[in-house]
């Protein structure tokens, strides 16, 4: 997925080529879905977020500046939409209860129980800290890329990431979560 290829696809989309936009969806739906799922901890919400993100991308495509990486611009929209979604969602404590009681259904996944515990642990972090963990650990983005997406300095990214890991360390120990 090169930046040049993305820029060409964007140009084709703006010329009216819908197939080009489908190619962009094929390329980026998985990482955006994973990001949304980590943030929302629920498949249905993650799908809503992803749909909204791509519709917004489509509508705002003529505002994209090819000087910057397309995926950075896309992730920015995805992060904002994830945060907006969180703000619209019901009370966090109630949601946590539902998550633990099993009322919220998840698709069968590898290490299903572990995933639920990780999602629960991530939810205990403040959104600003949660998002840097998700972008670094689940999207493999560098400090610089994360800083560009969140419009913060690299040092701030490191500070939040390292603090988040420190907190996660004690959360995971309390919940008895381990790799073994």
């Amino acid at each position: 997925m090169s930046q040049e290829q993305d820029a060409v696809l964007v140009r084709q989309c703006l010329d009216g080529n819908q197939k080009a936009f489908e190619t962009l969806v094929d390329r980026y739906q998985r990482p955006i879905y994973n990001l949304a799922l980590r943030f929302a901890a629920r498949q249905e919400d993650a799908e809503d977020i992803v749909q909204t993100v791509f519709v917004k991308v489509y509508e705002k495509l003529n505002t994209y500046d090819p000087k910057h990486k397309f995926f950075s611009w896309l992730y920015k929209i995805a992060v904002n939409e994830s945060i907006n979604h969180l703000n619209r969602r019901k009370n966090l404590e109630q949601f946590q209860e539902e998550l633990h009681s099993g009322q919220i259904e998840d698709e069968p996944q590898q290490d299903h129980e572990l995933t639920k515990k990780i999602d629960s642990a991530l939810l205990e972090l403040k959104p600003d800290y949660r998002i840097v963990v998700i972008l670094n650990h689940f999207q493999d983005l560098t400090y610089r890329e994360i800083g560009h997406i969140l419009d913060i300095h690299e040092n701030m990214v490191k500070s939040r990431l390292f603090s988040a890991r420190k907190k996660l360390r004690s959360i995971l120990m309390k919940k008895g979560i381990s790799h073994a």
Binding site: Q12, D15, G16, N17, Q18, K19, F21, E22, V25, D26, Q29, R30, Y33, N34, L37, Q43, E47, V50, Q51, F54, V55, Y58, E59, E107, Q109, Q110, D111, L114, T115, I118, N136, H137, F138, T142, Y143, K158, L161, F162, R165, K166, L168, R169, L172, M173, I177, S178, H179
Partner: protein, 257 residues
């Protein structure tokens, strides 16, 4: 309690961003300080836990859900061409329109008679009606012949002083988008004239005109431009969002005899 500097080095080691000098320092710390070693092992544990649940497969229906939610075509409101017959039907059935039609016809006839008797020369920039009755020579012209498996036709663009006239003559068995792209700094879309009962949907954007057509039809579009410039016009044909063909109309000076 580990110092912030040590914690930073351990985190950066996990992320692989330490310099060579810092890596050596970390190895030293890990050898000499058990608490630092434990902290680093916990960081690695966190990373491994996340790795195990990293890539969740996308639900198979998600792509269709996204595509069905897209607002296609893009923003500007389309201009729909009403078939000429519906107006004629109105004349036959609606008395109010008949009186209006008679009055309007009389007014038009009067204006035409006035124009004839006062011998006003035809404006060389008014293209309507000049096609059949002897038109001024174009200063420059560009042509494209379309010969695809199911789509044939011609696109001709002619330059007259500050006007550009594009004539499209198309035969398409299915719905096709014809997109004209041009430099909006040098050309501005002016008017659109379907010939006879040609139908279609027109969308006008800055630097772009999109015409959706099917069947065999002729259309004429006029643009206004700077007198000295001859910007090219790109014509693209799309079917169901797939680019079929592209043509670049580059004006060539016509010789005046």
């Amino acid at each position: 309690m580990l110092e912030k500097k040590v914690l930073d080095l351990l985190n950066q080691e996990l992320d692989g961003t330490n310099s060579e000098k810092e890596r050596v320092a970390v190895q030293n710390i890990l050898q000499k300080r058990p608490k630092a070693r434990k902290y680093f092992e916990d960081l690695q544990e966190i990373s491994l836990i996340f790795q195990r649940t990293k890539n969740v497969p996308v639900p198979s229906h998600l792509k269709n859900r996204i595509l069905n939610a897209l607002p296609f075509p893009k923003p500007a409101a389309p201009i729909r061409l009403a078939p000429a017959r519906s107006f004629l039907n109105e004349l036959r059935t609606n008395l109010r329109y008949r009186y209006t039609y008679v009055f309007a016809s009389g007014a038009v006839a009067g204006i035409l008679l006035f124009a004839v008797f006062t011998s006003q020369p035809a404006d060389s920039t008014n293209m309507i009606g000049t096609m059949a009755s002897g038109q001024p020579a174009a200063l420059a012209e560009a042509n494209a012949n379309i010969k695809l498996s199911e789509i044939t036709g011609t696109v001709t663009a002619r330059r007259f002083d500050s006007k550009v006239v594009a004539d499209l003559n198309l035969q398409v068995p299915q719905e096709v988008d014809v997109i004209l792209n041009f430099d909006e700094q040098q050309l501005r879309f002016d008017s659109f004239h379907p010939v006879a009962d040609a139908q279609g949907t027109l969308v006008i954007l800055e630097g772009q005109v999109r015409l959706t057509v099917s069947g065999q039809h002729q259309y004429q579009m006029t643009f206004t431009g700077n007198q000295d410039s001859r910007p090219p016009i790109t014509v693209k044909l799309f079917a169901r969002g797939i680019l079929l063909s592209e043509y670049k109309l580059t004006f060539e000076q016509k010789e005046n005899h």
